[in-house]
Symmetry: D2
Subunit: 344 residues, 4 copies
Amino acid sequence: MIRAAIVGGTGYTGVELLRLLANHPQVDLAVITSRSEAGMPVADMFPSLRGRVDLCFTEPDTKTLAACDVVFFATPHAVAMKSMDELLQHDVRVVDLSADFRVKDIPLWESWYGCKHEAPHWVDKAVYGLPEINREAMRTAQLVAAPGCYPTAVQLGYLPLLEAGIINPSDLIANCASGVSGAGKAAKVTSLYAECNEDFKAYGVPGHRHLPEIEQGLNGMTAEGVNLTFVPHLIPMTRGIHATLYATLTVDPSYDLQALFEQRYADEPYVDVLPAGSVPQTRTVRGSNYCRIAVERPQGRDKVVVMTAIDNLVKGASGQAIQAMNIMFGLDECAGLNVVPLSP
Amino acid sequence: MIRAAIVGGTGYTGVELLRLLANHPQVDLAVITSRSEAGMPVADMFPSLRGRVDLCFTEPDTKTLAACDVVFFATPHAVAMKSMDELLQHDVRVVDLSADFRVKDIPLWESWYGCKHEAPHWVDKAVYGLPEINREAMRTAQLVAAPGCYPTAVQLGYLPLLEAGIINPSDLIANCASGVSGAGKAAKVTSLYAECNEDFKAYGVPGHRHLPEIEQGLNGMTAEGVNLTFVPHLIPMTRGIHATLYATLTVDPSYDLQALFEQRYADEPYVDVLPAGSVPQTRTVRGSNYCRIAVERPQGRDKVVVMTAIDNLVKGASGQAIQAMNIMFGLDECAGLNVVPLSP
Amino acid sequence: MIRAAIVGGTGYTGVELLRLLANHPQVDLAVITSRSEAGMPVADMFPSLRGRVDLCFTEPDTKTLAACDVVFFATPHAVAMKSMDELLQHDVRVVDLSADFRVKDIPLWESWYGCKHEAPHWVDKAVYGLPEINREAMRTAQLVAAPGCYPTAVQLGYLPLLEAGIINPSDLIANCASGVSGAGKAAKVTSLYAECNEDFKAYGVPGHRHLPEIEQGLNGMTAEGVNLTFVPHLIPMTRGIHATLYATLTVDPSYDLQALFEQRYADEPYVDVLPAGSVPQTRTVRGSNYCRIAVERPQGRDKVVVMTAIDNLVKGASGQAIQAMNIMFGLDECAGLNVVPLSP
Amino acid sequence: MIRAAIVGGTGYTGVELLRLLANHPQVDLAVITSRSEAGMPVADMFPSLRGRVDLCFTEPDTKTLAACDVVFFATPHAVAMKSMDELLQHDVRVVDLSADFRVKDIPLWESWYGCKHEAPHWVDKAVYGLPEINREAMRTAQLVAAPGCYPTAVQLGYLPLLEAGIINPSDLIANCASGVSGAGKAAKVTSLYAECNEDFKAYGVPGHRHLPEIEQGLNGMTAEGVNLTFVPHLIPMTRGIHATLYATLTVDPSYDLQALFEQRYADEPYVDVLPAGSVPQTRTVRGSNYCRIAVERPQGRDKVVVMTAIDNLVKGASGQAIQAMNIMFGLDECAGLNVVPLSP
């Protein structure tokens, strides 16, 4: 059994790790830390876990964490980076769900996150944990930076097109929308029920922190430089991310886009290319690690439209982190992730 | 492996059976019937099952069904009763999720359901499938009538009180509320999103079909006759039933209601008595087979308030049906039901 | 024109007063105060008011308030009481939307609200602003205590029954449910979208602050003492309160309950008794000052069920406050309140 | 007083016309027709109108309609066109909320709507009722074709940019999203609460019927031909349309886009250009005739992002139809449309 720890377990990605790990056949959940809630049984904060998770929150402590096989960081950005030097000198592996190790360009990261990076040397060593691109490198990584939710949805949608070189990479538009759980469990007026319900709006239009992460990922798929316009929106629902991706095709209408996508993802356990003419719905992935994708060329014109749907808390966060752990430890990649989506 | 069939698999209890059985370690889902959709892959109708359920809907056919070990009826009322004579002469067992075999008083059933009962002799033989009351009888039953959603939530709440004989049974009030999936997948104006969203209302106030089923169940818990006022309401959410139950206590305020409930349900895998001072929330049972319960005596006056929460499609339907099957076949009662609730 | 001021205009009852007063033909909205937002244009905080309300928030200041004809307090409890002595020595009239002057029994108020009452002498003089009961007294009141949201829904439902003396007042049960806007605009985890959506729960079961206000009101309708069990619930929607009220009838089934309600409310502009067999829906009152009511005697047994629906922010707060102002100033009682409910 | 009739009043645009006209100071609502509901009081179908609309539905009848000053058609497409010859020979004016007279290219209309146009000669005479473009022509029109919901949101967003000639018109992308009321009140499985709640999806990706209407409108704003990719999505909420519009700018970053929009709409009563840095939210227009707009140039790159928000049932349908009527009859353009948005 793999002994696992979670640092910062009181948020939505924390409870989601717990939900999934509680049913993981090869993981023994040993530690979950929270400075603010130390001593409280986890199931008191999350009654959905009653009878399934018996742990109490504890103070974070390097010695205890280092005695585990894997540590998940479900903390806000700029927290995990402070612990890496001390923690990673031990024989322990880390999956960081935060943004600390995703962006390789340190000054760029610092400009978007507004603080100095305290472990830049670990950024180089960190492997970006999108299995569909980096599976091999992940196997041996000591530190995996789990991708952000929007970056997962956008990269998986553009990947076949950019790899095939059949779109103009300088003119990409990613129109995305997320459920409110993406804003986390912090008590903010803008996340209140009465503020979000029956409302739809864009946010972060001048620039969202996921932009550099996405552009870095897309740049890795093509020799030419990409230029992305990325506009996220807030949907009045709890879970789910939907990306509608636009690009200008450089191939004629006879090109078989459907086949391209099906072949690219034929062996991927968590990317599901829908039949031609379908559209992905966030509710068909709810609670699961799937990314469902559809591709269209409306009216046979020169634009391609790719639509992807994931559960922002699973494939967009905790599920993908567990997928990473499974890969790192040579387990069945689907272990603990066999949840069938909850629909309706 | 147990070979299972589902009759009438296109509704919400059907897809829910599929979701749960897909992960059941001892069940081989062999047949799913639908007259209207015969030939269609199940996953085309329910994309949430893509990659998990490979069956196609087939025409219902007694021979095929009789070759299975267990048949679930997820049909509207007055359908299952027509098949019992033919089907149950074979060595097959049935769990009926509909209302056909729940009410023992045939004329009463006929007056509420507005049609003649075509298999009254099977009503007698059917075992009412609430494990918390009937577990022993269920083990050997050939036909189990799975309880309705409201009846489950109401009976589990009143059970300890009536068994203990500490309330006045002639003066019970069950104020219940259900998510919209309880109305099924039929295309009705009253179930439209724009009709249900941002709305709350009572329905069936003069009389709801679950009343005779509930009163029959409650009458079985006490020697005196019960009298129940039952008012269901519609909540703008998809899943979940919440019951708020009122009764007049015949014991003084020193009586330990919390202990009564905890002891009654100590060995029940799917009834969770919350700590004193808590309230059950439907989201803490979403997707799972749990019933969470809390009990209060407000202001130390003479009324007791019991609150129960279940997922109407799981403990209120398909999960309870699978729990019944597990009991009937001597399996681990929790097999296939280890889903951790999805929260948030 | 009546010059009006609002104290504490940044919450949901504040913006709702603004929405309604903006279209009031005889009111000039002169002042709106907020200590925290002084200087900010109201429409910056509430873009729904752009082009309709040009005021900026200002620091509260007695001189400015006293120069108005009417001052609305849309503050949390224990704020308005601190200003009454100074303010009411001037020729100004006050409608307090908070709980400060609703409960006549000062020690009872202090025990529920957990603080000392600082203006008990004004409690006596304050008129409880439920027009359906107190219209005459309101005309000449200098200080009106606008009723709470639940108390409005519950009192209007029991009023005809208690006045007619046809129920047992010692055995009342009010099962109520409110949209999340009732929790206000404060940033609390329990009011987050992802916490409230797809959830239903009771709260305040051991005792809710509206209980003494409701019992006081009901006691005023009957010579016998009432005993009420009051359980509020939270609905995943923004606006609306629904009350389901139970009582034991002392009249036989031939008694015409429908006629009783219709006659009692025949002249009330904002109480709408629905036709027999109907149920009130919160969406049919959304944004309006109406209270819709239906009454049933299920199965002809001895329980009566009354259902009422209001918009918690209108008839349950700001609309009723404006109705009070109209009465106090001898205006058409419906002035500014002609909003047709928004449905769907 | 203007005598008004509504043909086809049982859908959501019908009840919305009723809600608004009920408070219109110069309109006498005389007739509302419905073949299926003739004889039923309107308020029985729409209890939100109780006490405000006393009419009953009647059979449609040309003589009665022709005796009115204005007739609104709130019918599905291909209905209004059948009545125009007979009706418009009388001295009556028509506002058609359906798609029948919006698209000038008859074969194009026929190919998208799948039926023969039965009144092509009236298409020529019809004035497209977007006041921000066609106000003058509308004043004297006998027949106004009220724009579709998406076309309104998209055209108002692109109008300043195309008129100013500062974007490339051959490369437009309109990513739109609508609340579920846009799908109408027909009983369809895809519009059920349990199907739409907690879900987000695109639809009509290969081609949506509003595309030719939008492209026709945009083509009227520029000498060059436009090419639009239009992808609508369904939002789990009742009301509201949000458009996120993308285009490639041909001017450098110093160009003042904010000033362009503010100047273009300075005199428009229902187009509200938000301050720089804002985003429109659908809830800030709910129930009102406003279109709120914001414009951004993310990262100073070459893409412009315009966001517009309207209430699909008001500015996107019934409110805009009343605005048209006001213009046609020389009334105050805002008469009956002074509803302040309902927020929260």
